[in-house]
Homo-oligomer: 351 residues x 2
């Protein structure tokens, strides 16, 4: 880390813009007096840009983004853009081009947060989702489209190289946490990919004698997430299973309005990208009621990734204190009613 | 339906045998005096057979199974058999060979059943899971196995033919229920398969003007299942997403010990197969403590499929009464402690 972090900001669409503004506000507050400065470039990418210009992610902009240390993204998409266009053309294009092979998604339950679970318990795990392979690689196609003989395929590509590097990351995380890894897959059906994952975990596990590991089929994992989520420390899984499990993890910890994520390139060959797990939520956009906490949490992950661990910890402490304030208010029968920017202000004020 | 149902029984392994015994007990009780008789053939298939003889599903036995009206299966598998061998070689072999293109999995919450949800609400939906395509078709492979250049692929194959027939089944179900279908897929990433599913649903929906439909990405669906499961009436989805969602659905309705399923060939070109969603549960096998309710529910589905709708309804009513008895006992602080066969006896006694 230099004293300046070159930050690319992609606010995106809908509530993306609103929550990113709060994320940046808290970032500034956290860095005040630290000697670390932020050199921001904003990129106008997403549904609005696409609808105006037809452009999704021009090469020149991708090159310019690469020329930054790190990226903060809000959310992209709106219902007028056909499904898949921005997801594949922008979001996944960034994750794949920037080799974000770790998609890191913490799940933490804060006391007092409304949750659908009767007894959430001590939920505190991270999902290490593979980010550059599997069914997300875009290998697939269709023939005889629109006829009654149409055939569409989707190909999941899984490599020893790609799996090993993300599994290593997961074990390294576990070594710093509660020393347990759970591999989630479906190796009783997806035998080729599944057994490659299993063998890779077995091998990497030997290098981490202090870390225990177990295995769950993805279907069983969705059960454990509601019945006993406290059992998990680090979950490592493929791109699609990780997508599914992290939304469910968001739901049990009180909604994806709180869930942060990092699309990380641990080798720093390209900038990593941090974003809330939620989408652009067109239904509530512009109303100033989106909870920016997921983005603020993502900012903490971003700063940690850029070497500002102390400032990241400070933001996390501020979020925890804010969550505690919410819990107390709810207990007293007066749940806090705050706008997006009031939540940002409240967290920034604690820094 | 003739007056005799030719039933193939595959008890399988572990608790499979125990719960199937209760399923048959209740079937006999339900049919007593109905004029319908059962002509049973038991097939010794599963982990035990495989370990003794190396045989999984010899062609002659598959042929003989085809020569029945319908199949009742318990559960197969034990930890000593490598993952995938019995799943692909027996369970999926049956589903695919017998063209079980509908995997029907009802989710119903009975009052008083312990559930991890704080407010389960009125959960009553069915998942119509496609059973003969998608990632389950076994199209995949690996090269350079065991080296650091290994590549493993899994191919999801989706056809207009295969999707249309299962979507039709789903809309026909919805027409008899609360008139709503939810398509679950991930068409923003799996654009080829996903858009084929979406277009098919759009087209079939036109034939059912009274049935409304909506769409959820699979990740969002896992959220709805814990936050607001009452929203669902009929979910239609592909093989893998159906596998995942039905386990989660089992969890929210009180555990997959209660979840029934039918692998249905609606055209009756081959026998359909009914089975509990749970597995052989080696950890509790032989203890007589498995809950046979999922299998008994599966027997009700089986009888309905074979034209014995009245007897199926009677079994469902007996299960509901038994669940009510459990709820009352639990409310009075004296939860029932019953063995597998005591539960079977109690339900049979109500018929
Ligand atoms: C929008 C979509 C492409 C994305 C994904 O599937 O990865 C989202 O669901 C997520 O989890 O970040
Ligand atoms: C055992 C396995 C092959 C099977 C499946 O994945 O379909 C099971 O999980 C199920 O849901 O019936």
């Amino acid at each position: 880390m230099g004293n300046t972090i070159k930050l690319a900001v992609i606010p995106g669409d809908g509530i993306g813009k609103e929550v990113v503004a709060e994320g940046l506000k808290v970032m500034d507050a956290a860095l005040a007096g630290s000697g670390i400065t932020i050199d921001k470039t904003e990129f106008n990418l997403g549904a609005a840009r696409y609808r105006e210009t037809g452009e999704i992610l021009p090469e020149a902009e991708l090159d310019s983004i690469k020329n930054h240390d790190v990226i903060l993204l809000g959310a992209v998409g709106d219902p007028a853009v056909p499904s898949g266009v921005l997801e594949r053309g922008l979001l996944l294009k960034l994750r794949f081009s920037l080799d974000h092979y770790v998609n890191l998604r913490p799940a933490h339950y804060y006391r007092g947060v409304p949750t659908p679970l009767a007894n959430p318990g001590e939920i505190d795990f991270v999902v290490v989702r593979e980010g550059t392979e599997g069914l997300y690689c875009g290998n697939g196609g269709a023939i005889r489209v629109g006829t009654d003989q149409e055939i569409a395929t989707e190909v999941s590509v899984n490599t020893a190289f790609g799996i090993e590097r993300v599994v290593r990351f997961a074990f390294a995380q576990a070594a710093k946490r509660r020393q347990h890894v759970t591999l989630v897959h479906k190796h009783n059906v997806l035998v080729h990919a599944g057994h490659l994952w299993r063998r890779t975990v077995e091998r990497v596990a030997e290098e981490y004698p202090e870390v225990t590991w177990d295995y769950a089929h993805v279907d069983a994992a969705t059960i454990y997430l509601v019945q006993d989520p406290a059992r998990f420390d680090v979950i490592v899984t493929d791109n699609l299973f990780g997508d599914i499990l992290t939304d469910e993890a968001g739901a049990i910890t009180g909604g994806i309005g709180l869930a942060a994520s990092g699309n990380i390139n641990p080798d720093r060959t390209f900038p990593s990208m941090f974003e809330p797990v939620h989408g652009s939520a067109p239904d509530i956009a512009g109303k100033g009621i989106a909870d920016p906490t997921a983005t603020i949490s993502s900012v903490a992950m971003l700063l940690e990734n850029e070497g500002a661990g102390q400032q990241a910890d400070n933001i996390r402490a501020a979020i925890a204190a804010d969550m505690e304030e919410r819990a107390l208010a709810a207990e007293q029968g007066q749940p806090l009613q705050r706008s997006t920017s009031q939540i940002g202000d409240a967290i920034a004020a604690r820094l």
